[in-house]
C-alpha cells in the first residue's frame, strides 16, 4: 500500500474556485489512487465540489489557518482550480499570516496575476509543491487543430491572427487574455470584466457579414500553474449567442474542459473551435 501511495503521488490539496473543474480534478486524482483535500471558499466554490470529500470551508484572508490545516492533513502538493471572482473586502480580511503576506506584496497587487504568483510563492515557502492542472490531467491541455468538425476559413484565419496580436500585447502587460475581431476590426479587448462579459457586449458591435472570432491566449510570461485560459461548453454557447463564428484558443497554453461536449456544442451551433500554435 505504501508503494502504491508513493507511485500515485502525495496527497493533493485543491484550492477550489467556481465551476465543475475542481470536482473533475478531485475525481480524476482519486481515480489515480491519490488522496485529496479540498479548500473551499464561501460564495465561490460550488458546494457539490466537497460532497463526500475531506474539506475546509474558508475565507481568502485566512491564509494562516489554511496552511496550518494542509500541514495537519499531510498534504504534499497544491493545485489552484477554477475561476475566482474578485473577492470582497470582508473575504480578504486578513489573519496575521495574510497580513504579513499582503504587507510584502502590497494591496495594489490584488486582483491580477501578480497576486496569484505571490500566493504560489507563499505556499511553496511553506514546503508544499504547487502543480498545474495540466500536470494532473494531461488531456485537459488544448491540442492544435479543430475540436469539432468545422475549421476557420481564410478570413477567419486573418481575424485570428489580428486577435492574437492584440491579446498577446495585453497579456504582456498582465491585463487580459482575450480579444474579439471581426473582418479585421477589433470589437472588444478583455480586461477585468472577464470573457463572458466581453462576449455579451459584442452582439451590439457586430457589423453585417461574416461574424467575428474570439481568441484566448495565455499571457506571454504566464506561469502555467495559475489562471490558464479555460474554455468549455459555456464559452461556446456564449460566443454563439454573441453572433461569433468561431473560437481559437492557444494549443498547449489553455485548458479545454470536456472536449467531447465542446465538439458536440460547436457542431450543433455551427461554430469552429480550434487550437492554435503560438510561437513563444
Amino acid at each position: 500500500m505504501a508503494d502504491t501511495h508513493q507511485a500515485a503521488g502525495p496527497k493533493l490539496a485543491i484550492m477550489a474556485g467556481g465551476g465543475t473543474l475542481p470536482a473533475r480534478i478531485a475525481s480524476a486524482v482519486r481515480g489515480q489512487g491519490r488522496g485529496v483535500f479540498i479548500v473551499a471558499f464561501e460564495g465561490h466554490t460550488d458546494p457539490e465540489t466537497v460532497a463526500g470529500l475531506p474539506h475546509l470551508w474558508s475565507r481568502f484572508g485566512a491564509a494562516g489557518s489554511i496552511l496550518r490545516r494542509l500541514h495537519e492533513e499531510g498534504v504534499g502538493e497544491v493545485v489552484l482550480a477554477g475561476p475566482v471572482k474578485r473577492p470582497s473586502f470582508t473575504e480578504l480580511m486578513p489573519d496575521w499570516r495574510t497580513a504579513r503576506f499582503l504587507a510584502r506584496v502590497g494591496t495594489r497587487a490584488l486582483g491580477d496575476d501578480g497576486l496569484l504568483r505571490a500566493v504560489v510563492r507563499e505556499v511553496e515557502e511553506d514546503g508544499f509543491r504547487v502543480v498545474g492542472l495540466h500536470d494532473l490531467l494531461k488531456d485537459l491541455l488544448t491540442t492544435p487543430g479543430p475540436v469539432g468538425s468545422l475549421a476557420p476559413d481564410a478570413e477567419a484565419e486573418r481575424d485570428i491572427a489580428r486577435a492574437v496580436e492584440v491579446a498577446r500585447a495585453m497579456g504582456a502587460l498582465d491585463v487580459g487574455q482575450g480579444a474579439v475581431v471581426q473582418q479585421g476590426i477589433v470589437l472588444a479587448v478583455e480586461a477585468i470584466e472577464g470573457t463572458d462579459a466581453m462576449l455579451e457586449r459584442c452582439a451590439g458591435l457586430l457589423r453585417p457579414g461574416p461574424g467575428g472570432v474570439l481568441v484566448k491566449v495565455k499571457k506571454p510570461k504566464q506561469d502555467r500553474r495559475i489562471d490558464l485560459p479555460t474554455m468549455g461548453v459555456t464559452t461556446v454557447e456564449k460566443a454563439a449567442a454573441a453572433g461569433l463564428r468561431g473560437i481559437a484558443v492557444e494549443a498547449g497554453g489553455s485548458l479545454l474542459v470536456d472536449r467531447a461536449a465542446v465538439a458536440e456544442t460547436a457542431d450543433r451551433l455551427g461554430l469552429f473551435v480550434t487550437g492554435i500554435e503560438i510561437p513563444q
Copy 2:
C-alpha cells in the same frame, strides 16, 4: 478684399461628424474672415450644424460627388471634425469613385484609422490640403496640467501611468485610445465600442476605495489631422456617473472642447481633469 481673403486662408470644407464641434469650427473660421462649406452626413451630422451655411447633405459612399462639389465651391482646405459612428452598408454604397477607392484600400480597412488615413490621402490627391482641428483652433489642444481646481494625488498618478501604458500599447496596434485603471487594476480597455460605452461598464467593475481614472491618449503614430481623442462636458459627466475620480488626457495630443465648461463641470462633480505630457 482679395488681400484679406488671402491672409485669412482659402475656403474651408468641414466634413461634419456628430456633436457640436463642427459648428464651433465653422463659427471660429468664419470669425477669421474665411469662407466655409459643410459636408453633412445623414444620421451623423446635427442638422443645426448647417443652418445658414452653404452645405451638401451626402452619404459616405458618394466620394465622387462630394469631391466634385468641393472643386465647384472653390474649396482649398478640408478638415474632418466630430465623431462618426460606424456607417451602415447602405450609407457606404459606393459611387464609382468610392468603389475605385475601396478596391485600392480594401474593405478590411473599413472602421479603423487605416480607413481615415486613406481618406486623407485620397482627398489630397484631388488637390485639397487636409488640415487638423488644432491648425484652425490652437486653443482646442489640451495643455499640460489641471483643467479645473482638482489635481491627481499620488495613487491617481500611479493609476494614470498604468493606464497610459495600456492605452499606448493598444494605440500602437491601431485599436483604441482609452483605458480605465483603479488601484493598479485595469478595469477596461477601449476597442470599437468607444469611450462612452467603456465608461458605462466600469460602474459594475469598481471595487471599494478610491475610484478609477480614465486615460485617453493619441495613438503613438497617429496623424493629428484625424480622430484625435476628444473630451468635453459629456465625458466628465459620464466618468462621474461611472464612479471615477478623474480623467487624464494627452497634452498636445487631444482636443478639449469648451474648456471653461469642462472645468466648471469637473469642479461641481468632484473630478480632476488634467493634461499629461507623454514622451513621443
